[in-house]
């Protein structure tokens, strides 16, 4: 009997959920706004292929907005295209484009405000001021979206013209959220690719963020987050992770962030974090650590960067272990004579020592800071002597008789071969 009741109940609720409202330009219901008026909580609104110009679409019911054949929802460069202020909303398969622009408000392609359990999936966002915007939300999912903005990197060059950074918004912007998942998105040509501020316990996984004006990932006051398997490529200033505790960063690629003010990753006031299996390839600066403490940097590859690691004296008790430093112009640079960090068992491609007892570790300690590196960090003008024969001679003599460079900054057990973690 109980089972029968249960079955009936299930049928009843299923009957409720089954209500689907179809919207298409030639249907009786030809606008999303009309469909939303008729919809109840839990309904599905199926949007067929077409162009919808409806100003601002405000979603205040827990509905599913599902696009078929990628319908285009256009904000005509005046409105915020979709605003969601309800829980459990699913947005899927839409093209959201041409949001308005404002100097006062953050107008987005789609904004979720004070929501729980909302999802946005398989959407394409084109030419919006802000792309996907979550504010004060919980348990949201942002998955497999393509967010392409109007900001081209070449605009940076005309920084004092009309196209400056503040004229553009962020691709995926999360503010004051909790338990969020950002997965498999492609963000391009925004100001910041992915922006996290006060976002706790969240995960950023499998995303590609490239050619953004400022940061590929901008990350502040967001404790206990993970970002894994992402690629950050050719961003104006690379990636910035700031004022945060307990971040787990693994399997990310930071590449081609090349420019006078660009980093692979900027770590500012980071505590108790962990960097694992990341690849830094062709960045001006691989890691720039400013006041980063108790962070473990393990099994990463630094390949062909200008500076692999720039670490300032206010960064303490960090551990660099099993990293590969290959063909960087400078391996480690610091502005201090002291060394409050530990470097051990790393592979340095310009290590010239030998290994007589064949235990895999070089018998001569390696000093990753070159004298010229020390000079450039303390007297910035001296960088103009790059590639001078004088500098070469100076570095060579300093290698043989270390006098000036931080004498404690030394890898006592440099690896003879590259540390293989990639398999």
């Amino acid at each position: 009997m109980k089972r029968l009741f249960l079955l009936l109940f299930l049928l009843y609720t299923a009957g409720l959920e089954a209500k689907t409202i179809t919207v298409c330009p030639d249907c009786p219901i030809n606008s999303i706004k009309k469909a939303l008026e008729q919809a109840e909580d839990g309904d599905t609104i199926l949007i067929k292929k077409g162009l919808y110009r409806e100003g601002n679409i405000l979603v205040k019911k827990s509905v599913k907005l599902i696009g078929e054949g990628y319908p285009v929802i256009d904000g005509e460069k005046k409105h915020e295209v979709i605003t969601v202020k309800a829980n459990g909303v699913l947005v899927k398969g839409l093209v959201i484009q041409n949001s308005g622009k404002s100097d006062i408000e953050d107008i987005a392609g789609i904004k979720f405000f004070r929501t729980k359990n909302c999802r946005i999936e398989d959407c394409i966002l084109k030419n919006n001021f802000w792309g996907i915007y979550f504010a004060a939300s919980k348990n949201g999912i942002i998955k497999n979206n393509k967010v392409i903005g109007p900001a081209k990197l070449s605009y940076l060059k005309s920084a004092f013209g009309t196209q400056i950074e503040t004229n553009f918004g962020n691709g995926i912007h999360l503010w004051h959220c909790k338990d969020m998942l950002v997965e498999g998105n492609h963000v391009k040509n925004h100001r910041d690719g992915i922006y996290f501020e006060f976002v706790k316990n969240s995960t950023i996984i499998n995303n590609l963020s490239e050619e953004n004006l400022r940061y590929g990932l901008h990350f502040m006051f967001s404790h206990r987050d993970n970002y894994i398997n992402n690629t950050f490529r050719k961003n104006g200033a690379g990636v910035a992770v700031m004022y945060t505790k307990y971040v787990y960063m693994a399997n990310n690629r930071f590449e081609y962030n090349w420019g006078a003010a660009s980093y692979g990753i900027l770590l500012k006031e980071i505590y108790d974090s962990y960097m694992f299996h990341n690849v830094f390839y062709k960045n001006t600066t691989g890691i720039f650590a400013d006041n980063t403490n108790r962070t473990i940097i393990e099994e990463n590859d630094f390949i062909e960067n200008g500076w692999a690691v720039r670490i300032w004296a206010n960064s303490q008790n960090n551990l660099f272990k099993h990293n590969n430093f290959i063909a960087n112009t400078f391996n480690v640079v610091t502005n201090s004579f002291q060394n409050p960090n530990t470097y051990t068992e790393n592979y340095w491609s310009d290590y010239k020592g030998f290994d007589l007892n064949r235990d895999g570790y070089g018998d001569v300690p390696y000093r990753p800071v070159s004298l010229f590196g020390y000079f450039t960090e303390n007297y910035p003008q001296s960088i103009i002597l790059t590639r001078s024969f004088f500098i070469y001679v100076l570095d060579l003599t300093e290698r043989i008789f270390p006098m000036l460079i931080p004498s404690k900054l030394v890898d006592e057990k440099p690896l003879m071969r590259k540390y293989e973690w990639s398999k």
Partner: protein, 262 residues
């Protein structure tokens, strides 16, 4: 003068040094292109050659040529030819053949590999490398001739050549670094810019480096340098300084040569 020049060229091309010089650059550049196929990387390596090897070889070979043709010069001086044309013929003979050795050695592999190049062809970068190299030849051969006319003693002459080379490639940069460290409280970008403009080797080095992608490492100082070198004024100034560095030792040497009692 033309006849003399013709004879000088004939003499130079019989000289095995020039051939070795040419082959050195040919083999080096071809092997670099063979390995990387990226002109920017090749230029980065060749730059070291241009600022180290070209001045050194120009100085050494220049002094050798001058000392070796001592008897011939004395013979010519007994003829009714003015000293100016003898000196210029010798100078042009040496510089043109040395530059030709360098130019062909660097250019032929580039043209040969131009079809297989990955990335951009970097015409301007390569051209500036070649121009720098040719200037280095002209400047340091002029120094070599100056030294060889000043010192009768060969050993002293070679000593002086090495000293000149050390000064321009090594000691001068040491002085710049010293000034940077000693006056660190002051804004030094412009003084450093002026200082490096006074050394032809530094001009060549900085001019080429600013066009390479490592220029991103140069930061604020690099930006100031780049701003200067990108303008016509900067280009013209660096070109002018190079010319002055050629003309100065050349006229000084000529003056000494004219007055010298052989």
């Amino acid at each position: 003068m033309l006849k003399l020049l013709k004879y000088e060229f004939y003499n130079m091309f019989r000289n095995k040094w020039i051939l070795f010089y040419f082959l050195f650059f040919l083999i080096l550049t071809s092997s670099l292109f063979y390995f990387t196929k990226e002109p920017a990387k090749v230029v980065a390596t060749l730059l070291q050659m241009v600022i180290l090897v070209v001045p050194l070889i120009s100085l050494i070979l220049g002094t050798i040529f001058m000392y070796d043709s001592r008897n011939f010069i004395e013979l010519l001086l007994s003829q009714p030819i003015n000293r100016k044309s003898i000196y210029f013929a010798k100078y042009l003979g040496a510089t043109v053949s040395l530059s030709a050795g360098f130019l062909l050695g660097v250019l032929l592999p580039y043209l040969f590999f131009l079809r297989q190049i990955e990335g951009s062809a970097e015409y301007f970068l390569y051209a500036s490398l070649i121009v720098s190299g040719v200037f280095m030849t002209f400047i340091f051969t002029a120094f070599a001739f100056l030294i060889a006319t000043f010192f009768e003693d060969r050993v002293k002459g070679f000593g002086a050549s090495i000293l000149v080379w050390l000064y321009f490639t090594l000691i001068y940069d040491g002085i710049i670094l010293f000034i940077i460290i000693y006056f660190q409280q002051y804004p030094l970008e412009k003084p450093v810019l002026v200082l490096s403009m006074l050394n032809p080797v530094d001009i060549a080095r900085i001019f080429v480096i600013l066009q390479l992608d490592i220029s991103a490492l140069l930061g604020y100082t690099g930006t100031i340098f780049k701003k200067f070198f990108d303008t016509w004024l900067g280009m013209a100034t660096s070109f002018g300084v190079m010319v002055v560095w050629t003309v100065l030792p050349l006229t000084l040497g000529l003056w000494k040569f004219k007055k010298k009692d052989f």
